[in-house]
């Protein structure tokens, strides 16, 4: 197990390094002259050259990569270098702030959004999936399956707009203001307001995810319910509820954990559409604005963050599924 973890960590680092190099190379190709972005609008060629030299943008790409990784030029006192401690991701030209600081300020929003949605969609998917698998092809199964196909087929932006139309706009015309249309309140400030503001975004994400997960839970449950040890449990006189939740679900859970980890990682890298609809200032929005505005240190920073979350999450999934398997422990 320990050796397995070490091997996994080494592969993870190699992946991250590859992502970094590729992203770095792509930003060099995509964004021509960052000095022009940084300089005042009426700057002379001389000023531009000065900035280019100061940022060492005239050096070859591999030296620039080296600066990015280790002791680059300070910009307005913000250090650069991913391998320094504390690791720094550079300086945002547009927002005039260190990228690390910028990303850290957006993470609480994205984390709240992703984790809250995860809890909702996992709970509902498991309930709906088990309910459907209890009696395959019954009317319960048919209705739940139809609903999850619908949730899966409707694009997120439409779900978001519909939810905010009915649960915000229509309700508020009757004077009911349960759900705000946008905004974010920190959980430490006011937990109730935090949940109230995130309720619609959570639902928006959950609707799409339930579409996938309800099907996965159902299929895995049906698979496990046909196995001999489920019959053994029934032969012992175990109640159906315990058969489903105690025996079958625990055996059917691994693929659900694996898929859940991947989806969670994807969301933490930025739920771009949902953040946009509900005016949430999260990592996804930061990444989109940086990509459109040519703010390449932020582009690299958010990409690395997303990759790192993915790597950590697959690693966590691997450890959890191994710990659940007594034969691999």
């Amino acid at each position: 197990m320990r050796r397995h973890i070490a091997g996994h960590a080494a592969r993870a680092l190699a992946t991250l390094l590859a992502v970094l190099v590729i992203t770095f190379a792509m930003t060099r190709v995509a964004y021509r002259n960052p000095a022009a972005v940084l300089a005042p609008r009426n700057a002379t060629q001389e000023t531009l050259d000065g900035i280019t030299r100061a940022l060492r943008l005239d050096e070859p790409w591999y030296l620039q990569l080296w600066h990015y990784l280790y002791r680059g030029p300070d910009i307005q006192g913000a250090p650069m270098g991913l391998f320094n401690w504390p690791p720094a991701l550079g300086y945002s030209f547009r927002q005039q702030r260190p990228v690390t600081e910028l990303i850290l300020s957006k993470i609480p929003v994205t984390l709240s959004l992703a984790l809250g949605a995860l809890v909702i969609w996992m709970t509902l998917s498991i309930l709906f999936g088990v309910a459907a698998a209890r009696r395959p092809d019954s009317w319960v199964d048919r209705i739940l399956s139809a609903l999850s196909y619908a949730g899966l087929s409707v694009p997120t932006f439409l779900t978001g707009i519909l939810l905010s139309y009915f649960l915000y706009f229509t309700l508020s015309t009757y004077g009911i203001r349960w759900f705000p249309s946008s905004g974010y309140v920190g959980i430490t400030e006011n937990p109730f307001e935090w949940a109230r503001h995130l309720a619609l975004p959570w639902l928006t994400i959950a609707v799409a995810e339930i579409g996938i997960f309800q099907r996965v839970v159902r299929a895995n449950m049906l698979d496990v319910l046909g196995s001999d040890y489920i019959r053994t449990a029934r032969a012992k006189g175990v109640t159906e509820r315990r058969v489903h939740f105690g025996h079958a679900l625990s055996a059917a859970l691994n693929p659900i954990i694996t898929l859940g980890g991947l989806e969670l990682a994807a969301l933490m890298g930025g739920a771009i559409v949902t953040e946009q609809i509900f005016g949430l200032d999260g990592v996804g929005r930061l990444a989109v604005e940086a990509a459109v505005g040519g703010d390449f240190p932020v582009v690299i920073g958010t990409t690395i963050l997303a990759a790192a979350i993915f790597v950590v999450s697959t690693f966590a999934v691997d450890v959890v599924t191994r710990l659940r398997d007594p034969a691999a422990r």
Partner: protein, 548 residues
């Protein structure tokens, strides 16, 4: 009054129009404290009728008729009342103890659940009860094993744990569905002894389902023989074994006796040429050079994540002569299949070598079999469901050896394939079918046809009849014997079934934990075993002493 009586039970699967009937009007009964054996081949409906009577079939099965247990009809009870009876009043033991135990739960938790499903018990008291149960079913050192998971138990121990679950609440009836079929013979004997002992100690009634009349001969009071979802004969055991009335029972009993009594039957006249027979009897062949020789084979594997490697074979040597069938016997894990894979060139030995007609073709470091030798050694595997490509017709499967190894034109290949099908006694109509459209016996014939397509010198047959019914088994054994006579092929016949080996093979190699403990002519080894392990193996064959 009968404790449990099933009357006119019918079970159908499927819905609306497309239904199959698995059980058609079956009746039987068991008295308190008695043992009823339900015997039949696979697909005869014996398990289905019991599972149907106790409500354990999936919901797409429709059960009619009645199943009276202590006066209550189980087929009409509500699910909740049926649940209250299962486990408390009727205990179950199923066939494959690995697939029947939850892989993620400890043995102790699974046995404990048999109690907590019906009673409220404190944690400490429950643990004590589970420890007692484990002790009662003969698990050594229960304190240390109670928190193990199923994968840490051997097959026999798992079945003991299943039995502990079944007897946890001291039920009046235990239904044991092929409880020893997945186990080795020596383990089978000990599980049978355990069941009998528990039954005597608690006065429990037992319904014992088996495909093998020999296995139940030692324990049954009454026997019900089933075929195609119907009861063909029901009689007290003594009567049935002494004078079976129905022709099918006689056939089953004959097959069981034939195999188990370890008496060589005379070869069918058409399958042996006279010259050959005399040659064999005079023992001339003993002096001729061996066709295939395995010398000092060693095999060890490095297991991932572990330092010490696992030794599968130690110093295994044997010969296979022209036109000879040599049996390779031993329990699971003894290394039989590893030897088969090495002889077939599918695995490399760690040390030692295999040679054909004096030419070494498989030794450590060899990358692949010499191409010229590949058609000379062929394999037949145990599971005819898994070893045939489900998306290829029989014709395509049988044409492949010719396409890969010869330059024959298509028309000639077609002619050869047709001849092959005739040779293994299949109708030409199977050529365009897929494996799923064939019976188990037909599939194994196709697998055998594929192996002998290029008239190889040696065929390695790895448990070729173990997955088959006893009547089909006899037919396949006869086919192998005939092919040997017609083609002059030698067979390395791997089996855990000593009866079949005694019936078919000239010589036998007995393996235990990767070592050859004894080898020699079948008669000598089986009638006068010199190694204690061989003796144990022979003594474990069920029904050897009793009725059969």
């Amino acid at each position: 009054m009968a404790l449990f009586s099933v009357e006119d039970l019918r079970v159908t699967f499927g819905r609306r129009g497309r239904t199959t009937t698995a059980v058609r009007g079956v009746s039987f009964a068991v008295e308190p404290g008695r043992t009823l054996a339900l015997v039949g081949e696979s697909g005869s409906g014996k398990s289905v009728s019991l599972l149907g009577a106790t409500g354990l079939l999936p919901s797409r099965a429709e059960v009619r008729g009645s199943a009276l247990f202590r006066g209550a009809d189980l087929t009409r009870l509500s699910p909740a009342r049926l649940r209250a009876i299962r486990g408390r009043h009727i205990g179950f033991v199923f066939q494959d103890p690995l697939s029947n135990l939850h892989p993620l739960k400890t043995i102790g938790a699974q046995i404990g659940e048999a109690v907590t499903a019906h009673e409220r018990v404190g944690r400490a008291a429950l643990r004590r009860r589970v420890l007692d149960l484990l002790g009662e079913v003969g698990i050594k050192d229960p304190e240390r094993r109670i928190d193990d998971h199923p994968h840490q138990f051997s097959g026999g121990m798992r079945q003991r744990a299943m039995i502990a679950m079944a007897i946890a609440l001291n039920p009046e009836l235990i239904i044991a569905d092929e409880p020893t079929t997945a186990l080795d013979v020596t383990v089978q004997a000990s599980i049978l002894r355990l069941l009998r002992r528990l039954q005597e100690a608690h006065g429990t009634a037992l319904i014992f389902v088996s495909h093998d009349l020999a296995v139940v001969s030692d324990i049954a009071d009454d026997v019900v023989v089933m075929r195609d979802g119907e009861v063909v004969e029901a009689a007290p055991a003594a009567e049935l074994y002494a004078a079976p009335r129905h022709a099918y029972t006689q056939a089953l009993l004959g097959a069981a006796r034939h195999g188990r009594a370890l008496v060589r039957s005379p070869e069918p006249p058409e399958s042996e040429q006279p010259g050959q027979q005399s040659e064999r009897q005079s023992g001339q062949r003993a002096e001729s050079a061996p066709l295939l020789r395995a010398s000092a084979l060693h095999m060890s594997y490095r297991r991932p994540g572990r330092k010490e490697s696992f030794t599968a074979l130690t110093d295994v040597s044997f010969d296979l002569r022209e036109r000879e069938i040599v049996g390779l016997v031993g329990e699971s894990g003894s290394g039989k299949s590893t030897i088969g894979r090495i002889v077939a060139g599918l695995a490399r030995p760690t040390a030692g070598s295999v040679s054909l007609r004096g030419e070494v073709y498989n030794a450590p470091g060899d990358v692949r079999l010499p191409k010229s030798l590949r058609p000379a050694v062929q394999v037949v595997f145990q599971d005819p469901y898994g070893s045939l490509n489900p998306r290829r017709t029989v014709a395509a499967t049988l044409a492949e050896p010719f396409v890969v190894n010869t330059d024959l034109p298509a028309a000639e290949i077609r002619a050869r394939v047709e001849a092959l099908v005739a040779r293994v006694e299949l109708p030409q109509s199977v050529l365009h079918r897929l494996p799923a459209q064939l019976s188990g016996g037909q599939r194994q014939r196709v697998a055998i046809a594929r192996a002998v397509a290029l008239e190889p010198s040696v065929v390695v047959a790895d448990e070729p009849v173990s997955a088959l019914d006893i009547t089909t088994q006899t037919q396949i054994v006869a086919l192998i014997r005939r092919l040997r006579a017609e083609l002059g092929t030698s067979f390395l016949f791997i089996s855990h079934d000593l009866g079949v080996v005694a019936d078919l093979c000239e010589r036998v190699v007995v393996l235990n934990q990767g070592r050859v403990v004894e080898q020699g002519p079948v008669h000598r080894v089986f009638d006068d075993p010199r190694d204690p392990y061989t003796r144990e193996l022979l003594d474990s064959i069920p029904g050897r002493v009793a009725h059969v």
